[in-house]
Amino acid sequence: MTDNMRDKVAIVGAGCSHFGENWSSSAEDMIVEAAFEAYRDAGIEQPQRQIGAVFCGALYPSRGTAEVAEALKLFDLPITLVQNYCATGTDAFRCAAMAIAAGLYETVLVVGFDKPKDRGVSGPSVSLTTSRGLPMTPAGWFSLCAAKYFETYGVGRESLARIAVKNHHNGTLAPKSMLKKEITVEDVLSARMISWPFGLYDCAAQSDGASALVLSSARSARNYPRQPVWLKGVAVTLGRNPQSDPDFDFLGWQPTRSAARECYRQAGISNPMNEIDIAQLHDCFTLTELLSYEDLGFCARGAAREHIEQGTFELGGELPVNTDGGLKSFGHPTGATGVRMLYENTLQLRGEAGDRQVAGAATALSHNIGGTPQACGVVILGAD
């Protein structure tokens, strides 16, 4: 496998726009909002001179690299657009970290953004350009494991509902979240059905948003005003398509298992439940978060239900998951999501997460999975 980047790269600045149906903000507005918060955080006053390269992640940009260059007036330096399904933001971060670890740049900017709410549809847009593979909806793709998992482990929609309730609660504590509304298990179970077993509250909404990070080499990291947050491990994997893989087991997502294995190897983690303090998991649908507990090795296969019932993953639990409310509360502007998770983990590791702060958090994981699903990214950050 690859060598690792452990402790070679640090996050020295982080920013995030408000996430939501930002009808009156353009992509430019959100990029400027997120990047300038990160600049201020890192004490960067002359970005045109201080930043060596930009990696941006956006899954449906209107113009891509030029949108970022023109919004931030960053010209005559390399700007690269990265796309990798829902791991787009995380992969943009990984590419930026590699550029620093390779010794090419001292300071690199990461910008994740997407503006789906200009498309005129309330959910993802539906493609009718094929006859096979339909209905081509994310809810349909991510429900693929539901029937088999439910039948095998005696789990039902109630377990999923408790995840939605938890994340909605956490979202009320995050100033930049889209949804700030407590809900009940009953609300989740009685909402209209989107794609069985997912009712409305089991699904993350589409939203607009941007998030930005300033990365530095280890050598320079302590020159910035804030406490550096260290990269311990990062892995992006592409897995088989569950819709055509003859060996798919319908009990979880292989890309998460392989990305986690590689990321833990880099970070030197052997017991994730004990060694990881907080995690931001890809809760595009409640079942995605549930399966990720198991795919990431937080608990044994089939044990998620009892951990949900014990409150293991709640803010006061043993391993708080989605401390800011996750995709459930922020919505999912695809390119921004992975970077937003790194923003949250940076705040948590610095002890700056306000009402949702997890005391003493020193090791934090973030995770995205997307496609049908096939693409996964996992990042582990450490406070020192």
């Binding site: 959910g123 539906v126 009718l128 350009t129 094929t130 006859s131 096979r132 593979g133 339909l134 209905p135 081509m136 909806t137 809810a139 349909g140 429900s143 693929l144 494991c145 539901a146 029937a147 088999k148 039948e151 209209r192 059905m193 989107i194 794609s195 069985w196 077993p197 088989r240 569950p242 819709q243 055509s244 893989d245 003859p246 060996d247 798919f248 319908f250």
Partner: protein, 480 residues
């Protein structure tokens, strides 16, 4: 024995100078197209061509009238029956309507030849008549024209069919879905290469394999053509020289649909002497090549083609053409990019329409959709096709999707595991709201998935097996 004994033609007198289409004040160009008047349709044009045909033939009863058109005014009601009545035929004449494809005129002609050769009919009148309409101001509009041709088939006809060959293919190249006023088409370069050229070449190869004539022994080639350039380059590709190609009448009549090849046939025969050969090729959802010989003993009189080409009424405005067609000047053309991609569905029809999986010859793994490298052993390009449609499967996962647009939500979909084979992601047909669980047995049925962009898209769905068996069992009991 059977052959064509008489040819009749109708070219509408109205001619639209092509220069007027895009520039109303332009000087009328010499290039023009024949346009059916506001009071003409495929039926009136067919009657006119039939009367011209019978004027040239010895009068006498016919026992069959086949009308081919893609633009009948009726989806249900026989246009052939109206033509027969207008010709004052006995009600015992076998009338039949051929349509839906530009190849239907060749199909009608072949059917008439077969009927006469088999002794099932004495004289059959075959008429091809078309009034096809392109989007206003489109490139296609410059090419299309209107005309009808009638061919009388009998046992003594001098133009004899020696051999023919048909290939049937399906792709979205040029089409018009039910209810649409104008033709749709996909990108030119794709449809000319993979539709027109490949289809015609395949039919000609098949004709040669069946003992068709060598290029050097053919006096004329009369081939359907969407435009002049394609016609010329196809002729070259097939090895014919310019003198062997019948003038395709672009700039005079235009591409007149099902009547185009019969019209070129008429033009060729007017210039042929006894013993000479003609090859015609009709195109549309495949191609139909026919090899003809002008019988030394027989005689076909001169057709009215040159006279009708000369009898012209020049239209003064494009607006007049739009009025004849009943078209709105301000209509917004349909976006051909909506719905399935014609090129994608062309490439994937073995998987999507024929429902063929791939089976690895190295490790035996069956996979769908077919891939180049085996999913399990990664062997490259060593797979055979494996038909799925007749095999049973079971439900491996499912969802009921209320988000995907459907006239009858929810869309039930999921993975099915084919017995001894591939896994496929399909929707479920005829779902009756029952509890689903993994392992339920299903079979496959062919269904339309959607109609986006005016291109109906087809694929296979699963259907629970026990529900079908219940229906069949009930039917059997009631039959007892």
């Amino acid at each position: 024995m059977s052959g064509i004994s008489s040819i009749g033609i109708h070219i509408p007198r109205l001619r639209l100078p092509l220069s007027l289409i895009n520039a109303p004040d332009a000087k009328p160009s010499r290039a023009e197209k024949a346009v059916a008047g506001f009071d003409e349709d495929v039926i009136t044009m067919a009657v006119s061509a039939a009367r011209d045909c019978l004027r040239n033939a010895e009068s006498g009863p016919v026992d069959g009238l086949y009308l081919a058109t893609t633009t009948s005014p009726f989806s249900e009601k026989s246009a052939a029956a109206i033509v027969a009545k207008a010709l004052n035929y006995s009600e015992h004449v076998f009338t039949a309507d051929f349509g839906a494809s530009l190849r239907s005129s060749a199909a009608a002609l072949r059917a008439a030849m077969d009927a006469v050769a088999a002794g099932r009919a004495q004289r059959v009148l075959v008429i091809a008549s078309d009034i096809r309409t392109a989007e206003p101001y489109s490139a296609q509009e410059q090419q299309l024209g209107d005309a009808a041709v009638a061919l009388l088939v009998d046992a003594n006809g001098a133009l004899r069919l020696e051999s023919d060959a048909v290939v049937s293919r399906q792709l979205y190249d040029v089409w018009r879905e039910d209810g649409a006023a104008t033709l749709r088409s996909w990108e030119d370069r794709f449809i000319l290469k993979h539709g027109y050229q490949e289809g015609v070449v395949a039919a000609m190869a098949s004709l040669a394999a069946r003992g068709g004539p060598a290029v050097g022994s053919v006096r004329y080639l009369a081939c359907y053509a969407p435009d002049f350039r394609s016609y010329r380059s196809l002729g070259r590709h097939l090895g014919y020289d310019a003198q062997q190609l019948v003038q395709p009448l672009f700039g005079r009549v235009g591409n007149c649909g099902v009547a185009m090849v019969p019209l070129l046939l008429a033009q060729a025969v007017d210039d042929m002497t006894a013993g000479e050969r003609l090859v015609t090729v009709s195109y549309g959802d495949g191609a139909h090549a026919m090899s003809w010989i002008l019988d030394a003993a027989g005689h076909l009189g001169q057709s009215s083609l040159s006279r009708q080409l000369g009898a012209r009424l020049q239209m003064r405005s494009y607006r007049h053409y739009l009025q004849c067609r009943g078209l709105d000047v301000n209509r917004v053309p349909v976006n051909p990019a909506e719905g399935i991609s014609a090129t994608t569905s062309f490439r994937e029809q073995d998987a999507d329409i024929a429902f063929l999986a791939a089976r690895c010859l190295a490790c035996g793994t069956e996979q769908f959709p077919p891939t180049r490298l085996c999913y399990r052993c990664h062997e490259q390009d060593n797979l055979e096709t494996a038909p799925l449609s007749s095999r049973r499967a079971h439900v491996a996962s499912y969802t009921r999707d209320y988000f995907f647009p459907s006239p009858v939500p929810p869309v039930v979909a999921g993975m099915c595991e084919v017995e001894g084979g591939a896994r496929v992601y399909v929707q479920m047909a005829d779902y009756d709201n029952r509890e689903l669980h993994t392992g339920m047995p299903v079979e496959f049925v062919f269904r339309r998935i959607h109609k986006a962009g005016g291109k109906p898209a087809y694929f296979w769905k699963s259907r629970l097996i026990d529900s079908t068996e219940t229906v069949e069992a009930t039917t059997e009991r009631s039959a007892e």
